[in-house]
């Protein structure tokens, strides 16, 4: 069976109807697939829900010929985000424990800081570590190119190249959002 998914923003009933069909035909299978990956039925249910939410909020129409292959691709992205989020949360709380000055933060401030970290991590996704470091030195500490070059033991030309690369990625990431 083929499914034509129209953009979410259009008021075309075909869209939600075919999502409904896709859901009815494959939700159980997707839930099982995610459960195998996660080892937990409840988390699998949450992520299966997230996967269908992604489809509901997408803007381009898509014609799906292989629904399970397609769902797997979307679910893999949801799953990767899930693991990365857990990893960041863990590193974040380890850091808070190591920084005694962090105990002055209120619970809300801690939560906002974590959300900001997750957002920045998403923006810098897949950039090499030295590129991320150079960019954070410039953005967060206001370090000059020469200072960053000295800190990372690279040339000023390389610093500029890194900053442009990271800056461009952030620029386009937020256009797509």
């Amino acid at each position: 069976m083929k499914y034509l998914l129209e953009p979410a923003l259009s008021v075309n009933p075909i869209h939600s109807d075919s999502i409904t069909e896709l859901y009815q035909d494959h939700h159980g299978w997707l839930h099982g697939w995610l459960r195998k990956k996660l080892g937990c039925s409840h988390q699998a249910a949450d992520l299966a829900h997230d996967t269908f939410m992604r489809l509901l909020t997408r803007e381009e129409p898509i014609l799906i010929q292989e629904p399970r292959a397609f769902l797997t691709t979307v679910a893999q992205r949801v799953l990767a985000n899930h693991w990365r989020r857990k990893q960041i949360e863990q590193a974040y709380f380890e850091m808070l424990v190591q920084h005694p000055e962090a105990s002055v933060l209120s619970a809300e401030e801690c939560a906002i800081l974590l959300e900001t970290l997750l957002e920045i991590d998403h923006l810098l996704n897949r950039l090499p570590l030295p590129v991320k470091r150079a960019f954070l030195y410039a953005q967060l500490d206001g370090m000059s190119h020469a200072e960053i070059a000295a800190e990372l033991n690279i040339s000023i030309t390389t610093v500029k190249r890194y900053l442009i690369k990271a800056g461009a990625q952030c620029y386009f990431a937020l256009v797509i959002d």
Partner: protein, 349 residues
């Protein structure tokens, strides 16, 4: 403004006049990637500490040359605001450590400090019916829902969780903390005196001697739960003076007077309370409510029919009632208040 510049047809004021400039509805997504790239290059150029007046003027000319340039630049400024929350020294340090980790460095930092969490259960060992006054005469305490930070004489820090009492017994030979009731997080620096005095944390069943490490311990009514994150911790039992067990990093163990019952992987999110949060990752509702119960007066009960539902999320502990409300919207449960102090979580239908 350079009036001799032909591109000034598109300058700011004119662009905002309705009807003249169709570009008012132009979206960032419509801007060519080349212009976007130029805007990013300008950002990097202007961030260089050594840029001169001529660079700045050239940038101004570029900005004025086409409305898309301005739009691209506005977008860059939007991007930059995303980083505002992290520009404090703490935010910056945390962001760099979390997003660009350097494993070896981090390990060295941890070895310098010791972090201990101890939990004495709702009925602490000295705070039993026979000697309830102990908790009230302890050196430091918190009430239900409170959290406190204390700096000790040697610079070590202790965070007291809800309903907690401790005694601090520092002598010439040792640095000893007695957990009378509740839960603590201890961060020690190395002893500043010329001889290094051992750091000892005392509970009902045991004495814990950390071996340059970071760990948590949680005391239930008759047992303790110890999680070690870095280094190792030695357990000594009161009732068996020959007993020694060293728990390694990454392990969580339950132990009682008889020794260790169970070993499983350690979960770092159990220290979240020290920042005023509960972090649940697919936690049983019954366990979650038992945890939440510690932060509010009265009794929070869980109907067995919903005990095995799972809870995930990061919950601020500032108002436990808000967390209960949130549960009601995310799970098929309803919160039944007999009184403010007797609350039961039941199935929704």
């Amino acid at each position: 403004m350079h009036l001799d510049n032909e591109a000034d047809h598109h300058s700011e004021n004119k662009a905002e006049a309705p009807g003249i400039q169709p570009a008012v509805t132009r979206n960032v997504a419509d801007i060519s990637p080349q212009i976007a790239q130029c805007a990013v290059e300008w950002l990097v150029e202007l961030q260089a500490a050594d840029h001169d007046e001529a660079t700045y003027e050239a940038f101004q000319r570029w900005l004025a040359a086409h409305p898309d340039h301005k739009l691209a630049w506005q977008h860059i400024e939007t991007v930059n605001t995303r980083f505002n929350g992290l520009t404090s020294p703490l935010g910056s340090a945390v962001a760099k450590a979390v997003l660009t980790p350097r494993r070896s460095l981090k390990r060295r930092q941890i070895i310098k400090t010791l972090v201990v969490i101890l939990f004495a259960g709702s009925t602490g060992w000295w705070a039993n019916e026979k000697i309830p006054w102990r908790a009230w005469t302890a050196d430091e305490r918190t009430h239900i829902g409170q959290r406190r930070n204390i700096t000790l004489a040697d610079g070590s820090r202790v965070v007291l969780n809800t309903d907690t009492a401790i005694n601090i017994r520092f002598t010439a030979n040792e640095r000893r903390l007695q957990l009378v009731r509740g839960e603590i997080l201890v961060t020690t620096n190395q002893d500043s005196t010329s001889i290094t005095r051992p750091f000892i944390v005392e509970t009902a069943q045991s004495e814990l001697r950390p071996l340059g490490t970071r760990f948590t311990i949680h005391q239930q009514t008759t047992s303790n739960r110890l999680s070690v994150f870095e280094g190792a911790v030695e357990i000594r039992l009161r009732q068996d003076i020959n007993y020694r067990h060293v728990v390694q990093a990454g392990e969580q163990v339950d132990f009682s007077n008889q020794g260790i019952h169970e070993i499983r992987p350690a979960d770092d999110t159990s220290t979240a309370w020290s920042h005023g949060m509960i972090i649940a990752s697919s936690m049983r509702l019954a366990d979650f409510l038992a945890e939440l119960d510690r932060y509010r007066p009265g009794k929070l009960n869980c109907d067995p029919a919903v005990a095995d539902l799972r809870v995930s999320g990061t919950y601020p502990l500032t108002d436990p009632e808000d967390i209960l409300d949130a549960l009601q919207t995310t799970l098929p449960v309803k919160i039944q208040y007999f009184t403010r102090y007797w609350v039961t979580v039941r199935p929704a239908s």
